[in-house]
Symmetry: C2
Subunit: 233 residues, 2 copies
DNA sequence: CGCCCGCTAACCCGATAGGGTGATGGTTGA
DNA sequence: TCAACCATCACCCTATCGGGTTAGCGGGCG
């Protein structure tokens, strides 16, 4: 899963005595940051140089600290980890960012990689995986766990939903009818139905409800954004 | 938010020198356990005596260690935290268990409390909240954060879904039609429609899709259980 | 330059969803 | 014992959904 991790860590160890790998941890869960801090702190060749609890703070911290590796959560208030990754990489193209998330949803992973993330870790990772990924990424390698890579490969052949289709599906998840969605997006109900047909085909779903659950599973839409729509019901 | 926590911790401190509060941590995320271990370990009046990563291990650990307070995650493989709490409380009615979860879904919180949990914490908690809750619960008080209490109060008037209704909704989430659900449960399609009507009313949802998203938000059904149904599509 | 693809739109039509009404039997608890 | 609730089933009816078909328009690509 992590090719050559044995020799890798030995190499890292020998160079580490002089300059430890500096790490920035970004997560809105204090306890998880605490765990990461504890694990990183126990390694001789790494040093945790900063913590942030949302995307905006992450950008600010990165500018100030210029860490070797950034561990970035996706779901965060104010600014999510994907957008923060894009922003940081735009300013510092060499930034090495490892994205952390709870879910295996392949869409999220693809967006993270598209945003320039060098690694992708599930929060169910073991300490060994975390450390190996930090060292790998620090040395310029990309590092994607097998489980996530599988998820991506599984849906690789399927084309991604277009922007419009995601908008429609988000409204479907909020319980809107095709007619209401049409009014909301200022398009005809017929057009909404065309989008729906495309959505059902792309997600291989049997009906709109199934499409929504599959989209949530795969990280294409998120539940928290659904409630705050239309609202007139 | 945690009334009298100041004096509480002082009291705890004075008794702590003799017998520290023993804590068992149950979570399938190693990093979060690491964080909890680090926080508990830093307190003089507490001692982490064991860790488990699923409900079955939790029961086994509890029997062996008899901790004063158990920190129990809900979402876990093999056996979830609610069932583990019920099992432990059945065997040891005095067990003081604090349930941890990522989501604020009120249904989950209500089930946890019904299962006999003495406390309920979100994983976004601060270390202060964790420690205050452990001390409170150890002294026999219940401890529910304001955010969770609000969620419960908000939906208090609404009656809970019946077992059958949850079954139906779970199949709806998997994209089954009323007819197929009827066949799957060996009941008439008409009966399924009656259940649906009741579900829509209880969840105040506009259609089946909306009902599913609201149920997921509130922890009534879970997405991971949906995919593994019927499957013939 | 054509070709593909996304967004738009309209039509037909059968299947499904969801509201209304009414009825039966079992369980639970005041 | 009676009320309340759950689960079951049936019929009617309208709105909505989802499949099939056709088609105009604009942008990107070989």
């Amino acid at each position: 899963m992590l090719p050559g991790s044995g020799t890798t860590s030995e190499n890292a160890m020998t160079t580490a005595q002089k300059t430890p790998i500096t790490v920035l941890s970004v997560d809105d869960h204090p306890m998880l940051r605490e765990g990461i801090a504890s694990v990183i702190g126990a390694e001789e060749d790494m040093r945790l140089v900063g913590e942030a609890c949302n995307g905006l703070q992450a950008i600010e911290c990165y500018r100030r600290l210029r860490p070797d590796v950034t561990l970035m959560d996706i779901q965060m208030p104010d600014m999510n980890g994907i957008d923060a990754t894009i922003a940081i990489r735009a300013e510092f193209p060499d930034a090495r960012i490892v994205v952390l998330t709870t879910y295996e949803g392949d869409a999220l992973a693809r967006r993270a990689i598209a945003a320039g993330a060098a690694g992708y870790l599930l929060k169910s990772m073991l300490r060994k995986e975390l450390l190996a990924t930090v060292r790998n990424v620090h040395e310029g390698r990309r590092c994607i766990p097998a489980a996530v890579a599988n998820g991506i490969a599984q849906h690789w052949h399927e084309s991604a939903l277009s922007k419009r289709e995601v908008e429609v599906l988000q409204l479907v998840a909020a319980g809107q009818s095709n007619k209401r969605i049409g009014m909301h997006l200022a398009i005809s109900e017929e057009t909404v139905k065309v989008h729906m047909k495309s959505i059902l085909a792309k997600l291989n779903a049997s009906d709109r409800t199934h499409a929504v659950t599959r989209a949530i599973e795969r990280g294409i839409i998120d539940l928290h954004a659904c409630g705050q729509v239309g609202g007139s019901y």
